[in-house]
Symmetry: C2
Subunit: 319 residues, 2 copies
Amino acid sequence: MSVSEFDLIRRYFTRATGARADVLLGIGDDCALLNPPSDRCLAVSMDTLVEGRHFLTGTDPVSLGHKALAVNLSDLAAMGAEPAWATLALTLPEPNTAWLQAFMEGFSALAAEYGVQLVGGDTTRGPLSITVQVHGFVEPASALRRSGGKPGDRLFVSGRVGDAGLALQRARGPSIPVDLRLQERLDRPAPRVALGRLLAGRASAAIDISDGLVSDLGHVCTASHVGARVELGCLPVSPAVAAECGLGNWWYVLAGGDDYELLFTAEPAQVEDVLGRCREAGHQVQDIGCLVADSGITLVYPDGRESKETPSGFDHFRN
Amino acid sequence: MSVSEFDLIRRYFTRATGARADVLLGIGDDCALLNPPSDRCLAVSMDTLVEGRHFLTGTDPVSLGHKALAVNLSDLAAMGAEPAWATLALTLPEPNTAWLQAFMEGFSALAAEYGVQLVGGDTTRGPLSITVQVHGFVEPASALRRSGGKPGDRLFVSGRVGDAGLALQRARGPSIPVDLRLQERLDRPAPRVALGRLLAGRASAAIDISDGLVSDLGHVCTASHVGARVELGCLPVSPAVAAECGLGNWWYVLAGGDDYELLFTAEPAQVEDVLGRCREAGHQVQDIGCLVADSGITLVYPDGRESKETPSGFDHFRN
């Protein structure tokens, strides 16, 4: 039995997420009609996940639905924006309704958590690929840009780094069983939306470390015309990643990527206020270094050795 | 030599299109920051083109860049919206800079024509696929919805129908050389944006006929809870398509799809005004029938024969 595209859309997408008052017209016409607030600007971001490139063949579709939205919400978080709407372009090899139902289960659960409504998109047949665009709101003056860092600003990272890269490495080589908590960090990242909202107007610059810490810090440095010093001994890591670092393998923390934590900077005068608010709200953030006037990233190893080595991040056309 | 994703983005996307005053922050941060007008709502639409499914392998990249944006602008046209911003998710098998340059040439030329700025997106490696989202503005009360049709409304179509379907058919079977004007209609459709703006607040319902005339008319009928009568002898066709119809082959006009013309309805009292404005602005529109109270689509053949046959449109999971 063949299933029509329109049936698929009707069944899984139309009522997949909650209804927001600012959606004048959702799925089902040539366009969605949306009513952005007049006092804030619109923040938009679009990310694609391709099978075999961003996720392994056979990845659990519930996790994939979660992750496709999460990586986009992470971009809103990095801008300090409040999530509102999503669109979804889904390319599937075949109309597999069980897969689609599971995918939308993961997508919708995360959408509900952040009050996001799915308002449109496209369903096509082809090699498995998922593109999501998210739309959020932020006060223009409070938006967290990459370009706002200044020499002397302290450098912070949220959560832990390196877990996702290590989980992916272990999933690829079946010799070591993958720790479920590591796997969860790879498959179901938690976008730091609440932290991003807290930092809006308070941090001087921010980015999410989807491409790897050094690579994404490099983007902040380039945009802000500064350099940075990172104290590797201060990096927040799980025991599994700490064990790798202990063996001298710093790749996971520095370039593993896929962590979806926030890397941000704060002026010295703001640090106490920012850290106090983070503590109060239960956000784990760690001081890992500072911005400096000289360009380039200096890595300070726990033994005091300094290096300007800068491992490449996750770059689709270099790997 | 490998080319980094960031180099590619910087080179081809950052300055690909003109700068709009309502773009606070374009390509290069975690999100774009946009300033929608406060007196109109935001219309968004997203469409994917997959190689081998929506275009033949080896399609000229300049045409593809044009078409990827055009099919989306056509959705804004069908809503009566004014185009503003676009995002582009491009999945490429390899970093082919000549291909990318040609693609962006086609994309940017059309973007310039409609004052559209490319504000963000994603570049990934994988099977060739293009997803574009467009964003436009429309007065909420004037937006052209599918659901506004009423029995007695006249039914119109713009331009000509069937050309794209015939061109595709001929391109697939190399026995008949493809007429260049037909090929142009398939490869470089002209989105009916100006017509859509003219119809906003004047037509009772509208849709673009990307899926085929009968299929898309069916969407209007379903949304408006009406039926329709279509006088096939009135359908505007090119000589090549007319020849096919003369042989009894109505498939191209009824279900060929990919035409990106507007199908719209107007209350009898509005018809004279709408047609007058279309004539004045040089838009070719043709009265092809009317909406009726009874559900279903009645096709009236030139010999007077009536049929409730409804050929399926272009449905990705049925074909």
